[in-house]
Assembly symmetry: C2
Homo-oligomer: 310 residues x 2
Amino acid sequence: MISSLELAKLCGVSQGTVDRALHERCGISQATRKRILEAAELHGYRSNPAARELMTGQSRIVAAVIPQLNSAFLMDFAGTVKSALYPAGFHLIITPADTPEEMTELINEFAARRCHAMLIVPHDDGFKLPAGLDMPVASFLSRCKGGKTVFLHADEKVSGSAAVDYFISQGRRNIVHLTYNRQSHAVQERAAGYRENMLKHGLKPQIISADDSDSLLEFVKNHKVDALFCHNDWLALNALRTLEQHGIKVPQDISILGMDNSLLFTSLCDEISTIQYPFEWLAGEFMAVLSGSYGQTTPAPPPSIIKRRT
Amino acid sequence: MISSLELAKLCGVSQGTVDRALHERCGISQATRKRILEAAELHGYRSNPAARELMTGQSRIVAAVIPQLNSAFLMDFAGTVKSALYPAGFHLIITPADTPEEMTELINEFAARRCHAMLIVPHDDGFKLPAGLDMPVASFLSRCKGGKTVFLHADEKVSGSAAVDYFISQGRRNIVHLTYNRQSHAVQERAAGYRENMLKHGLKPQIISADDSDSLLEFVKNHKVDALFCHNDWLALNALRTLEQHGIKVPQDISILGMDNSLLFTSLCDEISTIQYPFEWLAGEFMAVLSGSYGQTTPAPPPSIIKRRT
DNA sequence: TTGTACGCGTTATCAT
DNA sequence: ATGATAACGCGTACAA
């Protein structure tokens, strides 16, 4: 990789002239510009981003630090964010952090690099953000403690509530929520939305944890469950298979509603309906965080139910 | 973010002394070192990687450029590579490139950054690597044209062959390979291994494309297929559901073998067996590429079949 | 139109 | 034990 100084020497000009040619700045003759650009092309010259970032104190990199890679949901979101960033000249780079400690370490590393912004997906609501972060930071799925983060989130209560409405409109009454046992905003709020709406309709909220999946089958049988609202599509698919294997017909006996509309899973079956997660809208919100215009943005779209054979 | 110069001024010493304290170098009294380290801690000082990389011409960043994020397989591999890199002090960063052109652009960007090494997953075998890359580069799944890339790959022919052996040992003879229609090394070689071993056993190779999934059901019915070897676990799960929905019993009527052992899918059902993809071994090979010791490494492990209810 | 000089933050070397 | 100085590659302001 050639440097701008080397390129200048090669062309018999000064570094300043090279810079003028490269940045289409004025004060240079067409002839020398052409000559320099051709030489640059020939030698595959590229300005070193590290040097530029050092100069300007700003980088075009947006760092996403996430707890795990093998989450279809997170990857869908990351892909959407990337598609929003790229046309604006930003590069999204993704790094997994196995533990909260590792996450802290990586955040500090990127902060030292003075990346343009950060998108953090904490392991849970307990994550403590390192102090002194000098760029826009957004967290997703779980809140960060400390620091002035924007917390990007869908209205999970409304989603949980919408699920109940949906089932009721289908004539189901014995509606169970299958979710995780985790101190995470999305998990807690969605369950709260479910619970409140159930009570409002005079129905008994019943939440079971996905961690002991054995209990699902028993519960469904013993309680005559006729509707199952799952925290995500993977859980929905998993439940679908468990129930089907034991002779329970979906959606005849029990109706299943997932969430996120993860293509990876929903394309596998048309028995489960799902709720579209507002990826695009959240990506837009994140862009607003970058530009400093967060807060004056468009309202969240209402939960949209993707109805399949249910 | 404070700089080393600012830190020096804060402590009333020179930049050189700060550096000695930070890097545990000799030529500094314990007292001043302690004082400086405490001040650094207090102000959250971190050396700027961009500046260091500019100085040393080397970075600890390993860039992975991949065609898509929503691939459980790629994410499993990326996770394994990351776990191998991190303890060695390297950072794996992952960037998706929607198109080959975008991939070229990103590779050039990382090259200009003088990252430590690159792991490239091309869209297909036609990808042309940019010239002048100055760091170790490995490609995965598909070969790159041009450049001196190490091509990381499992022995796909052996895998395809092992699948046939497995089914035959189970008493199946009418074995079909369900795969993609893509000019990618993994796809082509695995199919070749399947085909050759089928012929060796006097059986007729039958390959159907996953792209027209409608044909699968018809084909299975018309040809009395009793074994299905799928290119990956997603395809296997997809096939399983299609067949089950039409009354075909798995594994009684037809046995299904997937590949990769992607937890995301295999945990969803125990009807399909799968072949373990050698993630760990390949990550080890990549580390060897980094250290320049590639080629003297351990041989690939033989295909290991994860047998489930089949 | 072109060249020169300085600074970004680090690190390494040479002098004190 | 500590300070001064140079260099990495780039961008910019100023001088020629």
